[in-house]
Amino acid sequence: MKERLDFDVFRSSFRYTLLQTFRQLNAGWFLGLQVIGPIFLLLTSWTVLQIVGSSGTSTFAALSGYADYIPFAILGFAFSGVIMNTVWAGANGIRSEQQGGTVEAIFVTPANKVAWMLGKIAGSITVALTSTVIVLIVGSVLLSFTLSATPDLLSAAVGVFLTLVGMTAFAFAIAGLTFLAKRVVDDINQILWTSLVFFTGLAFPIEALPPWAQTISWVFPITHGLTITRSAVLKGYSIFDQKLLFPVTSILILSAIYIPLGYFSFRAFLDKARKKGALEGY
């Protein structure tokens, strides 16, 4: 019975997030931030390649091990929606209730708050997946390229799935912070979002970064998820390939860390905010 109720909470929260994003009045945000934004970032990468010229391809191949830069960048920017949604999903879910004055009502009901939060994040992840597909299609149509290997689509799908699991756990881990940081969480997330776009190698191989920066990039599940997906699509690697052992193991370990971390930090921050009577303030 309890599981059924939890599932109902999850489903309602999930549906609410999807409806809020895609309803006519709000769809412009989705288009602007998660479709047009990544496409123009992709065009920026394409223009930089045109400026640098043919020598760029060989430098890029030597650094990254991939033959062609354009499909590399398309796959990278297709994931920018995932970054945006995971960073903002949980925090925005709580912030909008705080601003609307409804957060206290939600958090004093006996409904499972973790199911409520997971529903919000799952809704945002679904939105991100939609933007990923759109950017992949538009990018591939706009900028022509040829694949040098037969893609292993099943492994690519596993790569995307692992990325989404890892990033959901990551989103959960930072969502609870909103209860205490309140408005400052907007600033934290703004910095986190741009940092993730940079450190995870959406537009360039992370091998181009200095070693300390590469170490930071490994902390984010999406870095490894991108490596798996790119290797499966552009090199035809199977998920069981020895060369993917490091990213696959890393993303699994990171998910195993972020899931309990997210769960316990969310509960801890929520309890602290309740005890301080700080749920409502924003």
Partner: protein, 277 residues
């Protein structure tokens, strides 16, 4: 027009915005930190394809630009200012609507243009913090060496760009009143403006259609003028090609913005829909 009243309006709006800005200390710091990864992204988009010296050589031989990180930093700073104007001045009336205070604001006898200019001025003060902060941090991280030939030209380019961006804010304010989905349209325009104005490269490197779009934007001329003066030893004489279109666009945006705002306000007052704007 009563200059004393206008000054009071100007001061009141400016102080209010500045107080809002300094209310959250974390935000003040965040405003100069969050752009850095995006700036670094542009730098590494080049470095993933060629070494620093190769990129420098290519940009110099093709476009006469000696400092490639300087090119990106100047572009990013002007774009950030544009963004500040868009969301600070342009979307100001949207915020008033959201707070339920727009009706009382538009029923006061104060000049709307004075209020908008004051809002733009306070955004510029915030912008000055961004300019200095982002420039110093970028200089420390990426080691940009400014190549300034004429300080007067730098000041004129900077002031002209700032005035043009205030005009952008005033224009967008009327745009925001015109339609309730203006904030979404403005968001959708951010990435195309960033691309076409040449934040990460000279506009000449763009496909023709985007060059055409780019040359209709004041941001493009502001970036070009500051690049010329800050990293290319540009002088006042060489600035004319960028400043003349910048001034023309500034005048057009100010006049059109003010006219549209007045007309929309009048219409809303006549049909009693002021609260709905």
């Amino acid at each position: 027009m009563n200059p004393e009243l206008e000054w009071l309006t100007f001061k009141g709006v400016t102080l209010r915005h500045l107080k809002e800005f300094v209310s959250y200390r974390a935000s003040i710091l965040a405003t100069i930190i969050w752009p850095l990864p995006l700036l670094a992204l542009n730098v590494y988009q080049y470095l993933g394809l060629a070494s620093t010296s190769q990129v420098g050589q290519i940009l110099y031989s093709k476009y006469g630009i000696a400092s490639f990180s300087g090119m990106i930093i100047v572009g990013t700073i002007v774009y950030l200012l544009y963004n500040r104007m868009l969301w600070g001045t342009g979307a100001w009336l949207v915020e008033e609507r959201f707070n339920g205070t727009i009706e009382s604001l538009l029923l006061t006898p104060s000049s709307r243009l004075t209020m908008l200019l004051a809002s733009g001025f306070s955004s510029l003060v915030e912008g000055a913090w961004w300019i200095v902060g982002v420039f110093l941090l970028s200089w420390a991280i990426f080691g940009v060496q400014p190549a300034i030939g004429d300080w007067v030209a730098v000041v004129i380019a900077l002031v002209s760009t700032m005035i043009a961006l205030v005009a952008v804010g005033v224009f967008f304010a009327s745009f925001f009143v015109l339609t309730r989905i203006a904030d979404q349209l403005a968001t959708s325009l951010q990435a195309p403006v960033r691309y076409a104005s040449g934040v990460a490269f000279p506009v000449a490197a763009l496909p023709a259609i985007f060059q055409l779009f780019g040359y209709m934007l004041p941001v493009t001329y502001g970036i070009a003028a500051l690049r010329t003066t800050v990293i290319q030893h540009g002088t006042l004489v060489g600035l004319a090609t960028d400043l003349i279109p910048l001034f023309v666009l500034t005048a057009i945006l100010l006049i059109v913005g003010d006219l549209v705002l007045k007309r929309l306000e009048l219409k809303a007052k006549k049909d009693g829909s002021l609260y709905k704007i």
